[in-house]
């Protein structure tokens, strides 16, 4: 059990007072920027790099780890409270989380998200410590065709966010897919649907769309209905904390979310969005309270939040084991390593074990700190909802535009935010589901690029999708997921008829 000894040594590094301080600064900064839409951990680490290079490598890398985990916690807080996902990975959390908050259950929603993040982060960090070398061997075996198959699974599960009308759900999804076409085609470098506007060349930013549809659209909708029904927000109804029932309904989603998040996060092109959607739809299928979904079901917060944090730890697997930066934040952390002349990868484990294990140990510490920090804050956060409605929504709009301006200071981007707000309003008015639009924007471009890569490598032979065992298995799963609901429906009808 070399890893255990190494981890214990790592803990002694991470528990040094100075390093604890760095971790604390990191989680505080991370939470702060995670709250801001458009400004994520990657940007923060980038801006801090020049400042930290004077510090010792251990300390600053530990701080980056804190920022990374902190950002994941912060993003969900705004998603739950004000329906403004700080990053695309918190979108699934907003779906049920904000409904819970509006029903006075913001406390339990924040709590299940914090505890779920802690549980998932801890399990996933353990996975990082003990499984990284094995997992990474599997991860690089994933080729473009396998990613495409994974996208197929994800597309099928999207239907969980469709609401009650398949036509309206598909309409939303295809609007998202159309938005995903905008910009430079990754494989040939040509502009598609940009209409000569250079700002559109980079495509539609996911956070702009999500914040526009969710936050601005919601503000418009609520404002337009004030003369019919006054929205009454009660910060706390019932218990501020999770009840026994809440615990019972949360623990399984936490574990399942971790199971989705960690391995998919470890894939070089896996990302954090797909596991959160997979988790959301799984919970929706498995729940004993299907009627609550869409109105604030705690499982729909617990699962995606766990998946989100587990995937953050998963991203560190290829980074530490191979030196592969698979997310923007990981790329910045790699730059952080490199400015000390350190190159992550198999050699770093051998050459500087105290650093690697110190980092892993500090991930545990950052995680614990975040839990201790966030749980008492729950009471404070929900008080935000007690702010008078005009100010609350004015603040949300200022918040939404500020994130956009800071990330991309262009008028076109702000105009898009406004337009997406209008779209969000109309979709609410005519009862089209919102989430599939964002899902289409995220998944569409990835699915297209991966399929085209696979077919380019195979020189146009589509059989490559079935020849790869991973891809064939995943496509099989997708097929079952597609057919199973119909079969189950048929069976239950059959049963009902028998009764």
């Amino acid at each position: 059990m070399d890893a255990f000894i190494a981890l214990a040594n790592g803990l002694t590094v991470a528990l040094q007072p100075m390093n604890l301080l760095f971790a604390l600064v990191g989680v505080l900064l991370g939470t702060a920027v995670g709250v801001l839409p458009g400004i994520g951990p990657a940007l923060t680490v980038a801006l801090l790099l020049p400042i930290t290079f004077k510090l010792d490598p251990g300390g600053s890398i530990i701080m980056f780890a804190g920022i990374y985990y902190g950002g994941m916690y912060g993003g969900s807080t705004t998603a739950i409270l004000i329906n403004t996902p700080g990053e695309s990975a918190s979108m699934a959390t907003a779906l049920e989380g904000n409904k819970m908050a509006k029903a006075g259950r913001g406390g339990p929603a924040l709590a299940t998200s914090a505890i779920g993040s802690f549980v998932a982060g801890t399990i996933a960090t353990l996975g990082l410590a003990f499984l990284a070398p094995t997992l990474v061997e599997l991860a690089v075996k994933f080729g473009p065709e396998d990613y495409f198959a994974l996208m197929c699974v994800a597309f099928i599960t999207v239907s969980a966010t469709f609401g009650d009308s398949p036509v309206r759900g598909l309409t939303s999804l295809f609007i998202g897919l159309a938005l995903g076409l905008v910009g430079i085609d990754k494989l040939t470098g040509q502009a598609r649907l940009t209409f000569g506007v250079p700002e559109l060349l980079d495509g539609v930013e996911v956070t702009t769309l999500a914040v526009g549809l969710f936050a601005v659209g919601e503000a418009l909708y609520v404002a337009s209905r004030r003369h019919i029904e006054e929205e009454v927000l009660e910060p706390v109804r019932g218990s501020l904390w999770m009840t026994k029932e809440d615990w019972k309904r949360s623990w399984k989603p936490w574990l399942r979310g971790t199971l989705f998040g960690f391995p998919i996060g470890a894939l070089p092109a896996g990302g954090a969005e797909i596991p959160t959607f997979l988790s959301y739809s799984t919970e929706k299928r498995l729940t004993k309270y299907p009627k609550e979904f869409g109105h604030g079901a705690i499982e729909g917060v617990a699962g995606p939040e766990a998946a989100n944090n587990a995937s953050a730890a998963g991203t560190l697997v290829p980074l530490l084991a191979l030196g592969l930066p698979t997310s923007a934040t990981a790329a910045m952390m790699l730059a952080g390593f490199q400015q000390y002349g350190l190159n992550p990868g198999p050699l770093l484990f051998a050459e500087r074990p105290e650093l690697v294990w110190g980092l892993i140990a500090s991930l545990f510490i950052a995680n614990t700190m975040l839990l201790i920090l966030n749980l008492p804050l729950v009471g404070l956060w929900v008080k935000l909802l007690a702010i008078p409605q005009p100010w609350l929504y004015a603040g949300i709009l200022v918040f939404a535009t500020m994130g956009t301006i800071a990330a991309k200071p262009s008028i076109v981007e702000l105009a898009m935010l406004g337009a997406f707000g209008g779209l969000g309003f109309l979709m609410r008015r005519f009862d089209y589901p919102i989430a599939p639009v964002v899902v289409g924007l995220i998944l569409g471009p990835i699915a297209e690029a991966q399929l085209r890569r696979a077919l380019s490598i195979s020189l146009g032979d589509p059989m490559v999708l079935l020849q790869s065992p991973i891809s064939a298995t995943l496509l099989g799963v997708a097929l079952i997921a597609l057919i199973l609901p119909f079969v189950l429906k048929g069976m239950s009808r059959f049963k009902a008829a028998e009764d």
Binding site: I39, T44, L47, V167, R168, L170, T171, F174, I175, L177, A178, L181, D185, L187, T188, G189, Q190, R192, L193, V216, A219, L220, A223, S224, R225, R226, H227, I228, P388, Q389, P390, W391, Y393, A394, G395, L397, V398, T401, M402, I405, A406, P409, I411, L414, A415, L417, G418, G422, F425, R429, F430, D431, G444, E448, R452, L455, S456, I457, L459, G460
Partner: protein, 157 residues
């Protein structure tokens, strides 16, 4: 205004169907202008084709629902708050376009939104927005060294 009574045509629903059809046409027109193709495998036109055809089919689907009057019931719309909020956004964009600066832009948006939600203390809200904008500006420019849009006021700070 319409109700879910079957058989009644929902005009808004037909407009939505028309919008989807136009979008499909737009994508088709755009993809036919693409000059380069991939050397191997699928070209850049495949995905837009799928999306365009999909949207066209969905336009038909939505039209059918609209003709059956299948859209949900809607209440009368109060346009004033919507105009106020979107107006606030337009003002914000104009402020940034014409170098008035981030802080006044934020103040206007805050006050306009607040008014849309029924508050009648425009000047007070303008001041609150102003203070909030200043705090945000300082936070970003001093702490994160990110440059937010500058106006005369921001240059003074």
């Amino acid at each position: 205004m319409s109700t879910r009574t079957p058989g009644r045509v929902d005009k808004a629903g037909l407009v939505i169907a028309l919008f989807l059809l136009v979008l499909a046409g737009l994508i088709w027109q755009d993809l036919s202008g693409l000059q380069l193709s991939s050397v191997y495998g699928l070209g850049p036109k495949a995905m837009p084709m799928v999306v365009s055809i999909g949207l066209a089919i969905l336009a038909v689907g939505n039209a059918v629902i609209a003709l059956q009057g299948g859209l949900p019931k809607r209440e009368r719309l109060d346009w004033k708050p919507i105009v106020l909020i979107l107006g606030g956004l337009v003002a914000l964009i104009a402020c940034i376009k014409f170098d008035v600066g981030f802080i006044p832009a934020t103040a206007i948006l805050f006050a306009a939104t607040s008014a849309a939600f029924g508050r009648r203390a425009f000047i007070t809200d303008l001041l609150i927005g102003f203070v909030a904008g200043t705090v945000i500006f300082l936070l970003f420019s001093k702490l994160l060294t990110l440059s937010l849009p500058m106006g005369p006021l921001e240059r003074l700070i």
